[in-house]
């Protein structure tokens, strides 16, 4: 993944799970989760991610004349919602909505899954929602 793709990925993750008084997706380690999975279960999806992130970036430039990570949070959300609804302005190598849905699923795995999988740092999301763990 190029530095540009990595920056777009981070911005996408934090659009899916934004910061508030609890950690955002990247603050809770979702990128660590994804990095681990790209070497494991999601190894076959690296090219899909890279192409999709390039397309998201191109959509931002086409619509707003700036990169996706530079957009204010409201515009980023608006853009992903448009893609989710099938509203694209640049050519996509695959269904844009399917890309968003796939990434959302993986981000939630990293955010709400067990810390043993590399995300959900310090069980931040579990503490946020009140899921307790005992032996």
């Amino acid at each position: 993944m190029t530095p540009g793709q990595a920056a777009t990925l981070g911005a996408v993750v934090d659009t899916i799970v934004p910061t508030d008084d609890h950690p955002s997706g990247t603050e809770a380690g979702v990128l660590d989760y994804l990095a681990g999975q790209f070497g494991r279960d999601l190894a076959g999806l690296r090219a899909f991610y890279e192409a999709g992130l390039d397309a998201v970036e191109a959509e931002a430039r086409e619509r707003h004349g700036t990169g996706f990570p530079e957009l204010p949070p409201g515009r980023r959300e608006e853009l992903l919602r448009a893609l989710e609804a099938g509203d694209t302005r640049v050519p996509w190598p695959f269904d844009a909505a399917a890309f968003v849905e796939t990434v959302v699923g993986h981000v939630m795995e990293g955010f709400y899954g067990d810390p043993g999988n590399g995300g959900n740092r310090d069980a931040a999301s579990w503490r946020m929602i009140g899921f307790e763990v005992r032996d």
């Binding site: 659009t15 899916i16 799970v17 934004p18 508030d20 609890h22 279960d41 959300e77 849905e101 959302v104 699923g105 981000v107 939630m108 795995e109 709400y112 899954g113 067990d114 043993g116 999988n117 999301s125 579990w126 946020m128 929602i129 009140g130 899921f131 307790e132 763990v133 005992r134 032996d135």
Partner: protein, 542 residues
């Protein structure tokens, strides 16, 4: 190698079979295709467990073992891996599903054995009565409750079943979900009872009581307080010194002599090497799909489509449960962090619902994993991501309650498993090819059940509630059953009322394959009770 009996599968039926045989003095070999896994190996992985499976299983079936073929409504074929929807698998390890299950210990209701005569036979379905009734199984339900270990409320249960003896343990204490649901049931005038569980509410069988942890269904028990084959009947069998358990041993073919008498089992080890064990008796307890597959993959000159299959019955009537649910957003938090979670049920809608065939038990749900909550428990009008989604998770994880139940499926002869003509597993054995759906009549009942669940939630303090209806499809999975149905007529069944395959004196089935219908409750106690009955009789006549 030569033994008295080979048992194929170490789950709910196979464990009981092994114990009864070994304690009757027989030398037993248990072949288990799965691995013998520790608690740590099974883990508490929220992405790879038998409750929520996003990636290949840690507790079997292994990804590499082989796919199944799913045939859709238009005839399209799909290769399905073990962790993918459409595989219809069950945990594959020593103890089978009982190692990880939620352990609901329901007896079938008397009317569950007489579905056809109670309701008539819907067009196109193969709904039928069992050749035996509740009273035939009652003593064996009792054995299962005592010898494997069930906690429950005898007085409340006696309102629904003739019960000769109390449960060995009283129910687990009720939590916030049950308190809310009791209020709702009172307002509606519904009868409720604590969910009986194969879980130690107090120390029992030499093992500890449940610690009320949050990782119950889909996971192994950290306190060894969940009672399954692996820590009860299988241990008893091994303690006799007459039983041997072989994990990672895949039964490939049941061997017969020219007269049709079963002579043993050919099996494959991890390396792919073939072995034959000779036996006086063979008992199949591999689950409804794998037991049918084994019989089908054992053709002879007399039975070219597999053992017991000259009337094309093996593998048909495949069923499980079509779950119907509702979710309610409660005024007050109902998540108290105390597992297992499932606690209170009503049996008011299992039978005799106006204009419908069968019904379902309704109960609350196990403690839900956060990711599963996100995937399945959110209101349909909520965005799937973004600030509002995060806020809803935070505000309502402890408020949203799920109520639902296993809708009794109306069997369909076209819902079936067959050996695929092309696809083979890692050992070269034809894989299961699954096709058909539950009978559409099931969905009418399911919609009614989902609506009762919604009604219960609203009466229990939900400020809003929404239904999650059962879709038309195959619903085999963990409750898979029906593929070697029991009956007196060999043209319409595979085993007789004693679990013996028609036409074979020494071949038995001791799993849910023999269920003619699968009840409106969880089936595992019935599998255990039937295995006790089948194998006790087999030993008595030996």
């Amino acid at each position: 190698m030569r033994v008295d009996a080979v048992v194929i599968g170490s789950g709910a039926g196979g464990g009981v079979a092994a114990a009864v045989l070994a304690e009757a003095g027989k030398r037993v070999l248990v072949l288990e295709r799965g691995r013998d896994l520790t608690f740590a190996e099974i883990g508490r992985d929220h992405l790879r467990n038998h409750r929520l499976t996003r990636y290949p299983h840690r507790s079997g079936p292994d990804y590499e073992d082989g796919p199944r073929v799913a045939v859709d409504a238009t005839g399209g074929e799909h290769l399905v891996r073990p962790h993918e929807p459409g595989f219809h698998g069950n945990a594959t390890l020593v103890g089978g599903g009982t190692r990880l299950y939620g352990a609901q210990a329901w007896r079938f209701l008397p009317a569950d054995f007489t579905m056809a005569s109670t309701y008539g036979v819907p067009a196109g379905s193969s709904l039928a009565d069992w050749p035996i009734g509740y009273d035939d199984l009652e003593p064996f339900y009792e054995r299962a409750e005592w010898e494997i270990g069930v906690c429950g409320d005898h007085a409340a249960g006696s309102r629904h079943w003739r019960r000769a003896k109390p449960y060995p343990m009283s129910p687990l204490p009720e939590g916030l979900q049950a308190a809310a649901l009791r209020r709702g049931a009172t307002a509606l005038g519904w009868d409720v009872l604590p969910v009986p569980l194969l879980i130690n509410s107090v120390p029992y069988g030499g093992r500890a009581a449940c610690t009320r942890c949050q990782h119950c269904v889909g996971f192994a028990c950290p306190a060894d307080a969940k009672n399954g084959s692996h820590n009860t009947v299988l241990s008893r069998a091994l303690a006799t010194g007459r039983a041997r358990l072989l994990p990672e041993a895949v039964a490939e073919r049941v061997e017969c002599d020219p007269s049709g008498r079963v002579t043993g089992v050919r099996w494959v080890d991890r390396s792919g090497a073939r072995h034959v064990v000779e036996a006086e008796v063979v008992i199949c307890a591999a689950g409804a799909i794998e037991t049918a597959r084994l019989l089908q993959n054992s053709p002879t000159r007399r039975e070219p489509h597999g053992l017991g299959n000259n009337h094309d019955q093996v593998g048909r009537h495949l069923q499980g449960h079509a779950y119907a649910w509702a979710l309610g957003e409660m005024d007050e938090p109902v998540h108290d962090g105390l597992g297992p979670g499932v606690s209170l049920a009503t049996l008011d809608f299992v039978h005799h619902n106006d204009g419908l065939v069968g019904g379902a038990m309704l109960a609350d749900e196990f403690t839900v994993l956060p990711l599963a909550f996100w995937a399945r428990n959110l209101p349909p009008d909520l965005p799937r991501w973004g600030a509002r989604n995060k806020q809803y998770m935070r505000d309502n994880y402890r408020r949203v309650m799920r109520v639902g139940g296993p809708v009794q499926e109306i069997p369909d002869p076209e819902a079936r498993t067959r050996p695929d003509p092309r696809v083979r597993d890692r050992w070269g054995i034809p894989v299961a090819r699954l096709s058909g759906t539950t009978h559409p009549e099931t969905l009418r009942t399911g919609d009614f059940i989902a609506e009762r669940a919604r009604e219960w939630l609203l009466a229990s303090g939900a400020r809003r509630a929404w239904a999650a209806r059962a879709p038309l499809g195959l619903h085999a999975g963990q409750h898979q059953s029906g593929t070697c149905r029991m009956g007196d007529d060999e043209r319409t069944s595979v085993v007789d009322r004693w679990g013996r395959v028609h036409g074979h004196d020494n071949l038995y089935v001791a799993d849910a394959s023999v269920h003619v219908t699968n009840g409106g409750v969880n089936p595992v106690l019935t599998i255990m009770a039937l295995a006790f009955r089948t194998v006790e009789r087999l030993c008595a006549e030996w």
